[in-house]
Each structure stands twice: as C-alpha cells, then as structure tokens.
Symmetry: C2
Subunit: 339 residues, 2 copies
DNA sequence: GCGGCAATCCAAAGCGCTTTGAAATGCCGT
DNA sequence: ACGGCATTTCAAAGCGCTTTGGATTGCCGC
C-alpha cells in the first residue's frame, strides 16, 4: 500500500493525501479525517527511503562507534542504550551504529553525514578540543555531546553531570572526616570527565591546605584489573593514602580486592568513595562493605539525549544549551574517620 | 557530486556509469577504468537513499532492542558490539538499533521489515519456539540467530556455543573431584542457553548416578545481586552443595561475596566454576581466588555474526547452516577435591 | 452580478539511483 | 557490399515520496 494507491482509492491527489498525513494546513479538517482514517484502516505507512530521498531527512540518529582490535566498548554504553530506548521506543526513533576505526573516525563521520544517513549525531566521552565535536559543528549536522569538551572556540549543546562538584564534595567529606592523604584512581585522563573529577578533588583538598600528590593519582581505563593494580601500588608504598576516591564501580571492585589482599579492612584502614553510573548488574550497596558513592544514572542521561536529539531534528530545539546535572552523594559504610 | 553530474562530465549516460561502478559486464574495460578513475577523483559516492529506493537494499543490518522501564540491556551486549565492529568496520556495514517495547517486539519487527530499513536481522538470546525467529522466517528477511531455539518447525541459520557440552564437562570435572552435591546458578531459564546448560549439568551428574536436586538449581537474571542471593540460599540450607556451577562472572562475583560472608573459603569449602563470556573489564583470573571457567568469547561470535550476515545480504550464503562453537574449560584455583 | 480573496485541491517536477528495452557500433564471414 | 551477431552504449521509465506553482471552488462585499 503506497501513496498512489491510497490517493487513488480516496479519489484525491497524492499531494493532498501527503499533506493531510503530514499535518499541513491547506487541507480541510474533513478531508484530513477521511485520509487519516483510510490510512490507518489500510495500514498505510510511508516508505522511509522515498521520504528520505525527497526530504533528505532520515528519521534516525547516529553514533560513530570507535572500534579496533585493542579497543573495547565500554560497558557503560549499555546503560546509555537502555536510556535511549526509554525515550526512543515510543517515538519510532532508531539509532544507527557506524563502527569506525578508532584511529580514523573522521572518515566515518564524513560518510554518514554526506550520505544523509542520519539526522543528528550523538557524541560521547569527549576529549578536550574534541575533533569529532569540531567536525560535527563544521559539517553542520545537529548533534549533542554527552559530556563536555573544553578548548573549542564555539558553543555546542551538551548534557553532562557535575563531575567536578561530585568529586569535590566526596573529597571534602573525606577531609572533614580527618583524612589527610587522599588518593584518586581515575579513568582515562585524556577524557574530560576525568579531568573535571581530578579538578574537583584538588579543589577540595586545596580548601583545607592539602594537595593531591602526583604519586596519589592514577589514571587508567576503568576495569577491575586496573583498579586492583592502582590500589596495590598506592597502598603498598610509604605514606599510603587513608582514603581513595575512584571513578567507577569496576575499579572499586579491584580496589576492594587489593585491600583484602593487603589485609586492610574497610573502612577502618581505608575509606573508599566511588562514582556510580548506576548499573543494574552491579550495585554499590551490595559490595561486601557497602560503598559510599557519587551517583548519577547514565541511563537517565541517555533518555534525555534521545529526547533532545529528537527535538533538534524536528526543529523544536536549537542553540547551544548545555545541561549540567547535579550528582548525588550517597553515604554508606565504606568511609569513616581517619585513624 | 551525483550520478548525473558525473555522467555529464564523462560524456556517458547514467546507465553506463552506474553499470561501470557496479561491476556489470556489459561495459568495456576501458570505460570502466575511465569511470572509476573519475569517480574516485571527484569523490563521488552514490546516495544511499536513492539507491535504496531503487533497489530496496539498505546496506544495514538491524537489531530490535527490547526495552522498557524494568528492562535492562545485558552488559554482554557491548561485547557483541565490539565483535560486530571488528568485522563491520572495514565493510561500511552499519547496525541499526530499533528500540521496541519488550512486550511487543512484533510491531517493530514488522515495521523495519516493511520499511526495508535493513537487509538482514540479528536475533539474540532466543527462547524456545522463539516468536521473533518464526516471524523473521515468515517475513522472509535474512537473519541469523545468536543462540538456538528448539521447537521450531523449520531450520534457520544460527551461531551458538556448545553450552551443554561446556557445562557437562565442567560438572564432570567436579564430580571426578569427588563432589556429590553440585548446584547450578543459572541465567533466565526461559532462554535456551540456560536450558542447554542445565541439560549439560544433569547429564554429567547422571553419568555418575547423581541428580541435580530441585533445591540445587537457581535461575535468575545474571547480576551480582542475584548471584549473591542464590548462593546464600543454597549455602545456608542443610546439605549445602560443595560445588557450584554458574552462568556468568557477574553472578560469580555475588557467589564469592556470599561465600565470604558465610566464612566459607574457596576452594576448600566450596568449589566454583563459572561461564566466562570474556569481558575486558572483569576477568576470572583476577578474582581473589582465580576462577575456573568455561570460556567463549562473545566478541568473536559478534564478528562472525556480522560476517555471515554480510554474506547472506550479498547472496554468498544461504540455507540454514548452524554453527556450534566448542567451549574452553580453563582450570584455575577455584576448584579442588571435595572434603 | 461580479471582482477579489481564502480555502482547497491538484498535476507535475523533482530527489538520485537502477534497470529495461532498444539503438548504435564494430567486426565477421560470405 | 551486406546480413548477422556481439559488444557497447543510451534514453526513459520506474522506485514512493514531497513540494512548487497553479487551478478550482466557494463566499464575501459592493
């Protein structure tokens, strides 16, 4: 069932039928009703390829997915997908994933934009002066950044959480509990979220005349193993920290294991605060010692990204508004006063 | 730069240019060379929407993603995505994710097929007599199932691992070590992988005249929390099992925590074997007691799925061939002889 | 009764590609 | 020199939609 057949059986022109269906004003309410009724009754659905060819609009959003033999997709990504689904599900909005060589994402960006495969882009885990953001901006395709990128000479729309504030507050709490030697086990510090977090820790320490010593800061891909290694190195050295702030539950898992291996009990010998992105499959309250966390749901952010992307596509949103979401600080058993 | 412009500047018809570019035989080698040269030189790229409208081919593969307020996307999915990227990256093959209400995936399946949005479908985590598989079969769209579905009255192409064999071998090893009370903490037992695994355990036990008692089998969504709960329940009861086989590292995490809470030491008081899907962010060899696992990389399967899907799209593969991959049994410190 | 203005509706021209059916072209043997 | 046969090329017709520019209709005031 296509437009032609439908217009034939309604004895109307394709123009009118098309307009009726797409809500144009130059069609009487009665005809519109007739048309929409018939369309529903016969299960007419406009062919997206044809529509796309005619309009240039795809009705899809895109994500360039960096891949490579030694590139692993971050498990946080499924949380984002769940959130995207929360919104997109009811809106017939699809996401196209374009795998790209992590060394050369630009080619893929150019391809999907030139091909008009998608109407808008999602960009995640930005670096400072992020090339992809600059490219999307330059190519003139709508996009939203999940996170922030500093050092770009233009504004852009984004959604981010208050990483600096969260880590500042967590650190301040530890300091107030009497901790003097606080360490940070961070994620990849070329990414902006990690930079902001480090900034937050430093600022909180500075407010009490303390500093984050170079040896007390580690930055690695956020895996259990890296958390373990970083913690071992920190805790075995002289003047070991009495409190650790870390960027992911995955790393926290490794830190807990390291503490156990070293016979340090939590929170007596070591206080730990982790950031929690809210995984359904791993929860801080279920650690052997329930974890104090800074908490912000990636899933919620995913839904919001989808919503704003949809708004930008349909022209309801423009401009370069940035949203910064506050982060909860949830206190549980893994912290206590310094000995 | 479109076909028309290109053909104009080559002083050839669009027909010839199109044919030259698509490798049709009725064009002389010399013209073909001229055409491909010019195309490359001017960076000509056929507009996919137009091509799709004309041919009905989309050049994309689809995945209907079940979502819902209480539906969480499985973290295993990112591993699949990594694998898909491994293959698709070099082939300009994109994946479109269509979020669907988990209660009603059929509508979405029909939509994307009717719209010709994708050339082939990926179906994962099947149930027995899986509706989606039946639907895809009936709609006549190429697809590949990741896993197997029993009770369908037709054959279909799939890729699966030997779940039954893996769990059989793991259980047999435990039995050979003298364990009489073996428990299984499985994933959602409406999914076929879980059914096969249970079958493997039962068969191995039966071979030694043992049985899997109802109280010794648990089946839940594979999260840390569920692993913990199931293990507590098993281990606190009378005649607690001396060995557990479980379906995921995530659950193993919870099982280890439960054992620790109950002051059971591994492997002295409890032997544990887990299935390992090979996550880069959580490795069995880095558990406090290194875990014995049945191992099979989802990522590798993802790459293979992409490869076969591409082959089916281009007509290089047809028929209903199923692949069953063997599973490694990797022995580490978490098992020992029964006390 | 008529010009003028909305309100409706329509035919036809794209969008950029593939593919059908037909027309050139070149070459062969006779 | 000419019919016959490949080989190579082409014009034009879709694919199914949107949208431009016009045509038609109905209704108003005068």
């Amino acid at each position: 069932m296509n437009l032609k057949q439908l217009s034939l059986m309604l004895e109307l022109s394709q123009t009118t039928v098309s307009r009726a269906l797409n809500g144009y004003p130059e069609v009487s309410e009665e005809t519109r009703r007739r048309v929409t009724d018939a369309a529903k009754r016969h299960g007419y659905r406009p062919n997206p390829s044809a529509r796309r060819l005619a309009t240039g609009k795809a009705g899809m959003i895109g994500y360039v997915m960096p891949t490579g033999a030694s590139v692993d997709i971050d498990p946080h990504f499924v949380e984002f997908l769940s959130g995207l689904g929360d919104y997109a599900r009811g809106h017939e909005l699809d996401l196209v994933l374009s795998p790209a060589d992590a060394q050369d994402e630009e080619t893929t960006y150019r391809r999907i934009v030139a091909n008009k495969q998608v109407d808008a882009l999602y960009i995640s885990a930005p670096y400072n002066a992020d090339k992809r953001v600059a490219l999307a901006h330059q190519l003139g395709i709508p996009f939203i950044v999940h996170g922030r990128s500093e050092g770009l000479d233009f504004d852009y729309p984004f959604i981010d959480i208050d990483n600096e504030g969260a880590f500042h507050d967590a650190t301040r709490l530890l300091v107030q509990l009497g901790h003097k030697r606080v360490a940070l086990i961070n994620g990849d510090d070329t990414q902006t979220f990690a930079i902001f977090r480090e900034r937050g820790v430093r600022r909180a320490l500075a407010e009490s005349g303390l500093v984050l010593e170079p040896k007390n800061i580690r930055s690695e891909i956020m895996t259990e193993e890296n958390g373990y290694r970083a913690a071992r190195r920190l805790l075995e050295g002289p003047e070991a920290p009495t409190a650790i702030v870390c960027s992911s539950l995955l790393m926290a898992l490794g830190i807990v294991r390291a503490a156990r291996d070293l016979n340090l009990s939590m929170p007596r010998d070591l206080s730990l605060v982790s950031h929690d992105d809210v995984f359904h499959w791993l929860k801080p309250e279920h650690f052997s010692v329930p974890l104090t966390t800074t908490r912000s749901s990636i899933r919620a952010a995913g839904a919001r990204v989808a919503e704003r992307l949809a708004a930008r596509i349909s022209g309801l949103e423009d401009g370069a508004r940035g949203e910064v979401w506050p982060v909860d600080l949830v206190v549980r058993g893994s912290i206590s006063g310094a000995r």
